[in-house]
Amino acid sequence: MAVETAPGVKVDAGEPNEHGYRTFRLGEFEFSRNEYFVYVRWPTGSHVMSADSFLKALQRDVAWDFFYGIVNFDGVVGTVNHYGTVDLFAGRYNDSYRKAELDHLENYQTPLIRETFKSMLDDWTNEGFDPFASPTETGSAFGPKTGDNRKAITRHRVTAKRMVGLPGDEPIRTDDSGFPINRHFLDVPQDEPEVLPEPGFESEIGSFNLFAYLSRSDVTWNPSVVSACKYSLACPTTEEYILPIIHGNDRVEWFVQLSDEIWWNVEDRDTGTARVKVVMKPGDVSSMPADIRHQGYAPKRSMLWVWENANPDLPELLSSGKLPPVAVDF
């Protein structure tokens, strides 16, 4: 295998097929691809997705280590994070599949599915294709296997311990550090705040231009922690085109629109029934209840503040009914 996998984890991958891509097996699931499509097979069914859509979803699942709750690759296939193990499912959150009893779910120790997905992402991502980029910023995902793009798929994920820009924490982005201003944000002011510490307090007060920082992000739809107040994580991100996954919460999360606009389709988490449509504009604040799933559409690169509560007790409190699925009852 080309990519380094964690010791003790054996990824089940076959030899390259006629298009140059390996087939991967995880339990009774099988993943294969050709020049255009990815095929997912399981004992009671099969599914096909466009290779670019699959890889963009897979990239998020790998980069976020299965994130919070459900990462739906589309309306059929996805994963559920149990924070130590992960479910891989087909049709489990699709009303038709459930009613026909054709859905399938398997649970794995996280290292096994993580390493399998990493290997799959590496093998199936060709040179020039960046699953994190917007469509007009990247080459094609299609065609026979051609090279790789390890630099793109193994980016460092920003996780500030306290706040970006503080000593010892995540640095701010600059031209020199390899983060030019994105073409959609050339008009965003790059001025820094005036930070005037008294002698001896240089490391105790701090401030940075968050909007400029976000204007220099080289990825889309990738919440990354810029400030942390205990379990309260501010994870702003820049969004363009379509969120490559449909996110099913296992906790309430919040969105604050910092710039431009995003259109959200919001559905019932378990059945996919349409619930609301939300168009968020600058200054808008919205919660996403713990029983829905959502997918966003951004016509221009926009800045979104995603706010998470990382308390590990929340999923069980919600699933057991000890907490309501809404943020506030009024």
Partner: protein
């Protein structure tokens, strides 16, 4: 629109020759547009949908209005106008200026008992400027995020009305007015 030698907004490289096709839209206290919550099959109250500029337009100066809540954690919107009280907190807080210019001043109080104990979450107001060592100041404008460090007394000041969003924990002075600020009917 083509700019050859136009300097552009502050901080932008001079002499950049490019076609500017994209205009990034931010909101301000005097210029914002609320979005849309289109209900198909749900209760709009579940989405606690509001707009921070509208909230700030209806707020008293430095009233800490919660616009988001997740268990004990809150995002508060503050109308920054004039000088605030001095406040202090047992944990870090973060202030994002969404409109205007805000000066943050910090003092390390001589009286350590002014710092709330760790179990007391959310900031508390002090009775006045505490005696202590000046730590410095930050002047922040649109888009600037400032650390309000644990244990440091701080005060905000804005010569013109502005808007600050605080990432913090709910405290004694957090104001809840969900029914007033949120969309409640389909």
């Amino acid at each position: 629109m083509r700019f050859k030698s136009w300097p552009g907004p502050p901080g932008r490289p001079r002499g950049v020759d490019e076609v500017t096709k994209y205009q990034t839209k931010f909101g301000t206290l005097n210029d914002y547009e609320k979005g849309i919550l289109e209900v198909i099959d749900d209760d709009p109250k579940r989405y606690t949908y509001s707009n921070m500029f509208e909230v700030a337009s209806m707020s008293n100066p430095y009233e800490k209005v919660a616009v988001a809540k997740n268990m004990e954690f809150v995002l508060e919107v503050v109308r920054a106008e004039g000088a605030s009280d001095w406040r202090i907190c047992s944990h870090d807080e973060f202030a994002l200026v969404m409109d205007g210019e805000v000066e943050f001043r910090f003092i390390k109080p001589d009286d350590a008992s002014l710092v709330p104990p760790p179990e007391k979450e959310g900031s508390v107001a002090l009775s006045g400027e505490p005696t202590g060592t000046r730590m410095g100041l930050v002047r922040a404008r649109n888009g600037h995020m400032t650390l309000l460090p644990a244990g440091a007394a701080y005060r905000m000041k804005a010569d013109q009305p502005g808007v600050v969003m605080l990432q913090t924990i709910a405290g004694d002075d957090t104001v809840y007015k969900w029914a007033e600020i949120c969309r409640t009917i389909p």
